[in-house]
Symmetry: C2
Amino acid sequence: MIKIPEKAELLNTHTRIKSFIHNTPVISSTLINNIVGANLYFKCENFQKMGAFKIRGATNAIMQLSENQQQRGVVTHSSGNFAQALALAAQSLGVKSFIVMPHTAPKVKKDAVIGYGGTIIECEPTLEARENTAKKVEKKEGATFIHPSNNMHVILGQGTACSELLEEQPDLDYIFTPVGGGGLIGGTALSAHYLADHCKVVGGEPFEADDAYRSLQSGVIESNLSTNTIADGLKTQLGDQNFPIIQQYVEKIIRVTELEIVDAMRLIWERLKIVAEPSSAVAFAALLKEKSAYQNKKIGIIISGGNVDLSKLPFTSL
Amino acid sequence: MIKIPEKAELLNTHTRIKSFIHNTPVISSTLINNIVGANLYFKCENFQKMGAFKIRGATNAIMQLSENQQQRGVVTHSSGNFAQALALAAQSLGVKSFIVMPHTAPKVKKDAVIGYGGTIIECEPTLEARENTAKKVEKKEGATFIHPSNNMHVILGQGTACSELLEEQPDLDYIFTPVGGGGLIGGTALSAHYLADHCKVVGGEPFEADDAYRSLQSGVIESNLSTNTIADGLKTQLGDQNFPIIQQYVEKIIRVTELEIVDAMRLIWERLKIVAEPSSAVAFAALLKEKSAYQNKKIGIIISGGNVDLSKLPFTSL
């Protein structure tokens, strides 16, 4: 049985990591508000350090280690934003980081990790190889494994994006976030529960990776059999640390198609003039899909990150 | 002989239009600063109303008309940002606008003008047809013609982006802007001259449309024979209203290749996480090209706009 963190733990997390992260801007667009029929506030974590919210949780998790643990370093396996997040968070805290990545990972991602001072350990591109390699590093280096989403310190850290949004817009009716491994929506749900009066949390999830939606239906953690989605940050699996929080504090999860994700992403790029990842667009796509239920509400949307490969964009001629 | 506006006219312009425009954000990136070896401050006019600085000059030009003139409306010919700018500025001031556009202009641009309440008059896609059609509208409607860049009220309006930037960063050593018709760089040069202690203005211009560079060399206004550049906002021609200002107050103009423009644009998108037009990237490309001359300086860069066709981006695999 997981113990759901208390309000003080969330508040302490924010105080702890504040000076290591950006308080990112919140932006709005009259045109988008008119399209949706509601007042939207986009929390721009694409402007966060290393380009995504993940630095929040990574920073908190490392700071919660003992001095002895910090001296031996941290390890994770990721080919996405968490790899960069853990490397950068470790660097700014003076801690060693070991990042297990499949040897097939793009050079640009490896270069980013190296640029942030991380040590890359390559492995075969399977989940089994990743986990085994990470375990070997734990043993050999004495490093502490930090999971990208299924770790309560990570979840609390990710929740601080919502805390900042609520400081700026305290009377939100809803907050929409994308759902991947469950770290962001779990932390957001805690933050909305403890820091707002009546703010409900809604998740957006691709049909192609809808483990969280199905898990809420069945009451047990379901797996993704395939993950054929453009929202590459959302292919990961829900975990036993965040699922109970989601069950208790998330209002609902709305599933969206790949076309709906690309359309929402295009609207964000064209109207907000910001570079946002496909995963970021999933929350907005969910709201667009069911907008009739949210007329005249005040709604926050977490733009989760902005690390995209510009040579592989999904926009084609209309 | 053109009379160069005095400081009071610039200050009055800003006071006049302030409530009709956004004071856009200024952003920085540690990584970009490290690449350049200087401290850069990007003034983000891509977040301006209608997505570009042009609303500033359009608003000022309309507000300077007599009541009688305002009642008869305004007319311009443009298929670019100034078409939308004049339509939106006119709408928010309760004035009619007539926008002459070639019938070949993209539907998305026509729709934007209509969305802002402008009346489109179509013509053949030649400069002669545009000018003749605009003259006919002037005569028939009694509307006042507003040139997109060669109009002193427009030039003064465009200068207010630099005024805001200097309010936030008063001790800039340089400001870089793109050079198209000369409205933005002309206004910026006036603003830097009157409002800063020692701030020099540098222009970036594509080799493929280098009329301003050649005009500064020869001392007379030169024409572009061809304008084969991705920076479609910079194909326009320098004018007799802004050239004397540029001659007197612009330090130099640096020319850049198409590849340098795309590389600079990619860096802006990847690192600043913002959507900026190719024309916007030209000023930054100029600085990147000659960065050795600007080490450790404080440099402002005007990001002129963010209206791009996402289905026609220049980024390809590296």
